[in-house]
Symmetry: D2
Subunit: 254 residues, 4 copies
Amino acid sequence: MKVGLIGFGQTGRAVATVILQHPDFELEWVLRRSNKQAGRTVSEVLEVDNCDSNGTVISMNSVSIDNLLDEKRVDCIIDFSSEDGIFEYGRQAAKRGIRIVSAVSHYEEKQLSFLKQLAEKTVVFWSPNITLGVNYLIFAAKFLKNIAPFVDIEIIEEHFKQKHGVSGTALKMAEALGLKQNKINSVRAGGIVGKHQVIFGFKYQTIRLTHESISREAFGNGVVFVAENLAGKPSGYYTYEDILKPFLNERTPN
Amino acid sequence: MKVGLIGFGQTGRAVATVILQHPDFELEWVLRRSNKQAGRTVSEVLEVDNCDSNGTVISMNSVSIDNLLDEKRVDCIIDFSSEDGIFEYGRQAAKRGIRIVSAVSHYEEKQLSFLKQLAEKTVVFWSPNITLGVNYLIFAAKFLKNIAPFVDIEIIEEHFKQKHGVSGTALKMAEALGLKQNKINSVRAGGIVGKHQVIFGFKYQTIRLTHESISREAFGNGVVFVAENLAGKPSGYYTYEDILKPFLNERTPN
Amino acid sequence: MKVGLIGFGQTGRAVATVILQHPDFELEWVLRRSNKQAGRTVSEVLEVDNCDSNGTVISMNSVSIDNLLDEKRVDCIIDFSSEDGIFEYGRQAAKRGIRIVSAVSHYEEKQLSFLKQLAEKTVVFWSPNITLGVNYLIFAAKFLKNIAPFVDIEIIEEHFKQKHGVSGTALKMAEALGLKQNKINSVRAGGIVGKHQVIFGFKYQTIRLTHESISREAFGNGVVFVAENLAGKPSGYYTYEDILKPFLNERTPN
Amino acid sequence: MKVGLIGFGQTGRAVATVILQHPDFELEWVLRRSNKQAGRTVSEVLEVDNCDSNGTVISMNSVSIDNLLDEKRVDCIIDFSSEDGIFEYGRQAAKRGIRIVSAVSHYEEKQLSFLKQLAEKTVVFWSPNITLGVNYLIFAAKFLKNIAPFVDIEIIEEHFKQKHGVSGTALKMAEALGLKQNKINSVRAGGIVGKHQVIFGFKYQTIRLTHESISREAFGNGVVFVAENLAGKPSGYYTYEDILKPFLNERTPN
C-alpha cells in the first residue's frame, strides 16, 4: 500500500519510522508546512536503514496538492497535522478516491462535518488517539458498562510532570463511558510516558483495564492496523469501533 | 424467580446469602448431602435478616428428588455441589423444564455429554467460575487475541499461601487464549484473596486486564446475573459467552 | 502478656479475635461503653474456638477503673475506643505502670499532651493506624524522600464506594511526606477494602510503594507487633518509628 | 567534579549524556576498547547541546593509562566496561587517589578481591545495577524482611520479549532477601522496558514495592548520585547500602 503522510512533528516522525520498516507499506511522501529537510529522502532524515522506500519530504509551500496527488500517487493519506489540515487536501484526495486516515487529536464540528461530506466519495476515518491499545480499552470498557450499567467506574491517568491539563485520551474514555470529568484522577510525576487505567468497582470484585505507553511508535502501528483494515471497504465514514467489531466474530483459538 | 440451591459448602453459603437478599429471587430450598442443619430455615442458619424467604435446608438422605421438585417448585436449580451432583437431579429437573445453572468447577466428558443431553429439554448452563468478572476478562482477552494474534500474552495469578496448584481460573484463561501452561505465573503469598492479570505485550504498548476478588459473594452475584439472563431463553446448552454477547449490541452511553 | 482492650466496635472485635488466638497473649477483659454482652466471655461472643482465655466483656457503666485494674491485672491496655477514652483510664493505668497502646484514629492537642504527661510514668504509644504495613510504608516513603527531596510524589488511595472523605491514612502519609492534600487522588468504587499507593516519579524511573488491606484483622497483628516490641522499654512516649528503627540494624540475610 | 568514563556501549552512552548535562560534573574523557569515534568530542558524538565539556573519546589502543591519568586528570572513574576492565586501570587510578565507581554487572571473586585491595588506597564502589531505584528497593525490602522474617515474599520481573534468562537485578533482589530462585516469576512480553515488583504477603495485608524503568539514563543519574555521595569519603570499599544509610538520620519533612 502506498501512503502519504501529512505532518512531521514528533509523532509524525515516529509514525513514518514504523511505516518505512513495514514490508507491506511504501511511504511515498511526507508533506509538512515547514521548508526544513524539504527534498530529502525520508529514510535518510530519520536514519532508518534497510528500507527500499524513496519517499521524499515535501513542503506545502512548494507544491500544489493536485499536482502532488497526480504525480506521486498514493492509496491512503495519513494525517497527523492539525485541525485545519484536512481543508488543504481533503477535497482533492476524495475526488481521486484516496482513503483518508486522520489521527488529528481534536476536531470541531466544522471539520467533522467536512469529513463526513468527503466520506460520500471515499473512505474516511478519524480517531483522536489511533493506537490499538487505547481504542481496544475504550471498546472493552463500554462493553462492560453495558453489561453492568450501575458499576462504579473511575479512571486514573498518569503522565510526566510537564504534561498540562487532563489527558485527552482520559477525557475521551470518560465521554465514552458517560462519566463526569471528576471521575478522572490525574497523576503527574517524573517521566511516566503514559498510563491509563479504568477501574470497575463491583461489591465483591474489582476489574482494572490498563494501558501503558512505551513509546510514540505505537501510533505508527495503529496507523498500519487501521489502514490494513480499511483496504477494500466502500466509501463512508469509519471509526475505530467499525474496525474492531468484525474481530468479535472471528474464530477464537478454541 | 424461585430457585433451589444444591451444595452448601463455603461458596454455596455465600451464594445463598446473596440470593436471600435479592428482591427478585426466592430461595425455596438448599439441598445438601449432609444431615447438618436439615429442616432449619436457610436465612436463620446464615443469619441473614430482612428477607421474606422461608427456604429450608434439606438433606439428600431424607427426600426423593421427584417429590422435592413437585412439592417445592422452582424455576431454576443452582448447582454448587460436585462433579456427580448432576446425576442426582438432572433428569428430574429437565423433564419438568426447570432451568439448570451449574457452577461446578470441573466436569469430565461424561458429565458434559449428560448436560448436553438434558439441554434438549430445558435450559442448561455451565461455568466453572460463575463470577461476571472472570468471564468478562476471558471474553475481552479472547477478543484482543483475535485482533492481535501474534501479541505476547502472559498470565499472573496470585493467591493465599495455602492454595495448592495452579489456579483453575488461570488454567481456563490460558486454554481460552491458546497459551501453554508455562505462560502462567503463580504467586502464593499471605492472605491474597485472588488476583488474575492477563498481560498483552506489544512492542510499543502494554495492556493489562486484571481481576481482583474481594469475597466469595461474587459467585452469588454471578448466579443472579446468569439466572436473570437465561430467563425466557429456549431449551439448549449455554455458556457465559452466550450470556455476554448480546450486550455488545446494546446502545452504549454515547 | 496480659492485655485489656478498650473499645468493642468492628475493629475492636477483629483485634480481640487476633489476640485471643495468639499463644503469647491473654485477653483479660474488654471494656466497652455499652451494656451489650456484658458479663459474657469474649471468646464466646466472638465464636473463637481453641483459646484458653477467659476474658470477660465489661461495661464501663458497671465498674470503677481502679477496681478493674486491681482485680484483673494487665500488663498493657489497648485502646480502640474514641478520642476521649484516654481520660477514663489513663491516670489509673499510668500510676500502676501499665503500658498504654492507643490506636485511636484521631487526637486533638489536648489528648496528646495528656498522653505525654502519662508517658512520664509508663510506656505510652499512639498510632492512628496501627497496622505494620501502613507504618512501614510511611517509614520507607520518608526515607526515599530524604534521599531524593525533589522527586515528584503523588498518592492514590482506593476504597469502597461508601467511604466518605479522604482516607485518614492517606492524609497521614501526605503529612509525613510534606505533600499538599491535592497530591492525594481518591478512588471510590464498589467494595475495595483499602489500597494506598505512593508514587515516586523520577525522570527515568518510577517507584511505587503499595499497601493493600485484606481485612481488619491486620490491626490485631499490628497491636501484637507493637505490644511485643514495647515490652521491657523504659517509660516514655513512643511512635511507630521508634518501633521500626531498631530493625534497621539487625543483620539482614546476607 | 571531573570524571572519566570507561565503556561506551548503550548504557555507557546514556550515562555520558547525563553527565554531560549535569552542571556539577565535567566529563574529561571516555575510554573505550574500540577505535571508533576516537579523537572526537563526546558531546558531538552524542549530539548533546549546551554543555561546555570538551571531553574526548579515547581508544585503549592508543594510550597508556598512566599518561592519560597524568595528562587528563579526573577525580573519579566510572566503569561501565566489562568484568576485566578493572585490571586495565585499577592500580594506576588507586595510586593517584582517584575514586573508582564500578557499575559492571558481574564480578567473580578474583575481581572483587582486587577491588578490595585497591580500596586500601582510594575510595572504591561497586554496584551491579547503579540506579537509585533498584538499590532503594532492595534496601527497603531487606528492612521489611528484618521486621517480618516469616512473611511470604515473591518477585515478579517483566521485560521485553527478547531478554534471555532471569533478570540479573531480580536475582540480586532474591539473594539479598534470602529467597530461592523459584520465587522469581519472569514475564517476557512485547517491549516492556523493565519492571520489578517485590510482593510481601501478610495474612491480612499485602505490600508491594515496585520499580519501573523508563530509560537507560536512570543509570546516569545513579552514577551522579553515587559520585556526589562518595566525595570526601576516606579510602575504603563502599556499597550502595553505605550510600543510602546516612539518609535515614536526616530530618524528615515533619
